[in-house]
Amino acid sequence: MADDSVLFRRGLSLLLTDAGFDVIGEAGNPDHLIALVDSDEPDAAIVDIKMPPSFTDEGLRAAEDIRKRHPDIGVLVLSQYLEVHYAMTLIASQPGGVGYLLKDRVKNVDDVCDAIDRVVNGQPVVDPGVVSELLARRRTKNPLDDLTHRERDVLALMAEGRSNLAIQNSLFISPRTVESHVRNILIKLGLEDTPNDHRRVLAVLTFLNA
């Protein structure tokens, strides 16, 4: 785990340890983090988006770096910025196993744990806040108007990078219902169906951002 704020790093480390994770290393800058990852080969790395030296997008670049060196290590980027641009850049740069989560989510440790589990499993994670900003965008001719409420809920979960199974568990509906919702959504939005979670989330995000 890397964050230049010791206070936040320590707090999150304790919280995750309490939640049953093994926090095996803490770093204050991207170089140290990569050295730790190289030596300890953890299941996942948690990276602050802004770190020394320039405090711009070191976290995003560190995520790419780690994924390039260790394609099976999941990387969760924590950010205080609710910006679609960063999330899209991250997701588009990697075929799965990366996630963009607002730091605010630490108010519920389960959300953080869930996100870590998903990147470890090679799935993409997009913060719900980012997704709701995309869905809320004002459009002159809004294709989302054609969707039912239920379909919009499903679309939001798809955009967050959830699998059909996760959607089914989240909304307490049957696998067949999920599948039919997904199919309807893809038809209404004119998107191609793909069994790949990552490609699906990218297609949905790109569509919503257009």
């Binding site: 704020s5 206070l7 919280l15 309490d18 609710l82 641009h85 108010k107």
Partner: protein, 613 residues
């Protein structure tokens, strides 16, 4: 007018005929004119009966004196400071006094013998000193002095031995100066006199040729009429001198003398033309003013125009650089201050501003000083232009300073906002996030203790904190979006458009990065235009475009709303205009009352051309 100018320009020269003595001068000149008229009339009355072959000869003879005196009056009036008038008048009067020979009394005859041909002395003096009246070489001073001495002395010497009654004029009165009637001695003195006259005439001639050859073009312009009018007179005079040595056919005098008279009568007019020619050329100065009025000239063209108006193509213009305290020419080469190394063939006229500070130097031919008023006029025109240009340059410099200082203020404000945004993220937000972590930990710990009261409290605190964090994030983004600093205009504007209340399409955005002040100007223009459209336009769609080439960033925000927006109405657009103008950009608002508003800006993409500190 000419008098006033001359007076103003040359206050220290001879002045018996000017200034407060204006009335006296009028009287003197009128007297001079009347005197010449009377002398001419006497000459004609006395001379006509004796004239051979016709009285016309006398009239022509009197006319010579009249033209000299008349020209002298004009010269006095136009050039009161020049000796030219005095010399012309003296020549004319001496000419008239030769007619004393015709009067028929012995004292008049005697005086006439002494004064005969004396006019050549002031005439030669004039020829060698024209147009200033100053003899500027030693040789010419020697020649003129010799003339003034030799001519009267020669006349007196020959008069000592001349008895006109025995020398072919039986009806003539006696010569009072005669000591002894000795025709052979008389013959010797006449020959000596003629010899001296011939030598001096040749000296005058050589001196004139020398003057002409070394004269500059502006000087030649003044000398030319005299130069051409001189030769006939000289030729005829040479024949007369020769007649003292060689026997010409009898009666040649009736042909040659009138010719000499006509040739001499033309001379003073030639002097006048030369003298006044420069004055006629003053119209060139008004041409110069007309040209200067059209607008700023290239430094080179300014020199040309001034040289043209001054009538000296070789005129140089040296501009004063107050910062480095040197003079430079129109190609920025340093010009040595000519006043420290005076040169005989170049004169220097200094051009000063109204406070007496140097502006420039005109380095020109000394001949131009023959018409000081014209030089003064040219210098004034140069002063007007240079002072005007200097004021313009100062104004431009001040405006540039103001612009640069505005740019610095805007940039400093941007920097401060970036600082606040960073502080909010790194300070307050980090602490609140740490607090959020602690609360979550407390909630997790409590989940085993199961205190429902505490659980509710922790949940409320956590929710409040989440809202606070969201508000803080919005606040920081509003102050200065980190996305703009880190990722540039494109992502920042996309983010803005996504969150806009009115559907907003971003049609184009440059992918290149620009200096922070330029990106900030583009971003805040779009941000302000979106906010204005949201508040006032009732539009259903906004289109944002931004394109950049090497020189310009062009940003445009248009809506399909009600229109009628005014740049002065809200402080937002006014402030934006300041920001954009401070970058040498242009902001334009098109908002017809029939609908639709377009805010656009052109901003230079480079700060390099600016005096950026």
């Amino acid at each position: 007018m000419a008098d006033i100018g001359d007076r103003a320009f040359l206050p220290t020269t001879r002045s018996w005929l000017r200034g407060a003595n204006g009335i006296l001068r009028t009287w003197v000149l009128t007297g001079l004119g009347l005197l010449a008229l009377v002398l001419a009339l006497i000459e004609i009355i006395v001379g006509t009966p004796q004239a051979q072959p016709t009285g016309l000869v006398v009239v022509v003879n009197a006319m010579v004196g009249m033209t000299f005196v008349g020209s002298s009056i004009v010269a006095f009036k136009r050039r009161p400071n020049s000796l030219v008038g005095v010399l012309l008048a003296t020549t004319g009067l001496l000419w008239f006094l030769q007619a004393l020979l015709l009067v028929g009394t012995s004292w008049a005859l005697s005086l006439g013998l002494v004064l005969d041909g004396l006019f050549w002395a002031p005439l030669s003096h004039l020829l060698l000193s024209f147009p200033t009246g100053r003899l500027d070489s030693r040789a010419s001073r020697v020649i003129v002095a010799a003339l003034y001495v030799t001519l009267p002395v020669g006349n007196v010497l020959s008069a000592l031995f001349l008895d006109p009654t025995t020398a072919g004029c039986p009806e003539c009165p006696p010569n009072l100066f005669m000591v002894v009637d000795n025709p052979s001695l008389f013959r010797v003195t006449v020959l000596l006199d003629a010899l001296a006259g011939a030598v001096l005439a040749i000296a005058v001639l050589l001196s004139l040729v020398h003057r002409w050859r070394k004269a500059s073009e502006p000087m030649r312009r003044i000398l030319r009429p005299v130069w051409w009018a001189l030769w006939p007179a000289f030729c005829v005079a040479a024949i007369l001198v020769a007649s003292d040595f060689i026997a010409f056919p009898s009666g040649y005098g009736t042909v040659v003398l009138p010719l000499l008279n006509v040739a001499l009568a033309v001379l003073p007019i030639a002097f006048l033309v030369g003298l006044l020619r420069t004055q006629l050329d003053r119209s060139m100065v008004s041409d110069l003013l007309v040209e200067l009025e059209k607008g700023p000239l290239q430094p080179g063209r300014l020199r040309e125009a001034i040289a043209e108006a001054a009538g000296d193509p070789a005129l140089e213009l040296a501009f004063w650089l107050p910062e480095s305290q040197i003079f430079v020419d129109d190609e920025q080469r340093v010009v040595a201050d000519p006043s420290t190394s005076p040169s005989a063939d170049r004169s220097v006229t200094s051009v000063q501003d109204s406070d007496g500070n140097p502006l420039a130097l005109l380095i020109h031919d000394p001949a131009l000083l023959a018409d000081p008023l014209r030089v003064e006029a040219v210098a004034s025109a140069a002063r007007l232009t240079l002072e005007n240009e200097r004021l313009h340059a100062q104004l431009r410099a001040h405006l540039e300073e103001v612009r640069a200082s505005r740019a610095r203020i805007v940039e400093a404000a941007d920097e401060a906002r970036r600082g606040i945004e960073r502080d909010l993220h790194d300070g307050a937000q980090q602490r609140l996030l740490a607090l959020s972590l602690a609360l979550e930990r407390a909630r997790v710990l409590n989940s085993t203790a199961k205190n429902p009261h505490l659980e509710g409290l922790l949940k409320d605190m956590s929710d409040d904190l989440e809202e606070t964090l969201a508000e803080l994030r919005e606040l920081a983004r509003g102050i200065h979006p980190a996305l703009l600093t880190d990722e540039g205009m494109g992502p920042a504007v996309e983010s803005l458009a996504r969150r806009a209340q009115i559907p907003t399409r971003v049609v184009s955005m440059p992918s290149a990065r620009f200096p922070p002040p330029i990106e900030a100007a583009g971003f805040f223009l779009i941000s302000e235009a979106l906010a204005n459209a949201t508040r006032h336009s009732a539009a259903t769609e906004i289109v944002v475009k931004a394109e950049a080439d090497e020189a310009w960033l062009i940003v445009e925000v248009s809506d399909n709303g009600v229109g009628g927006a005014d740049i002065g109405a809200g402080t937002g657009l006014r402030g934006l205009e300041d920001r954009i103008v401070s970058l040498r950009g242009v902001l334009r608002l098109t908002s017809p009352s029939q609908g639709g508003t377009t805010v656009s800006a052109r901003i230079p993409t480079s700060l390099e051309s600016q005096s950026w500190e």
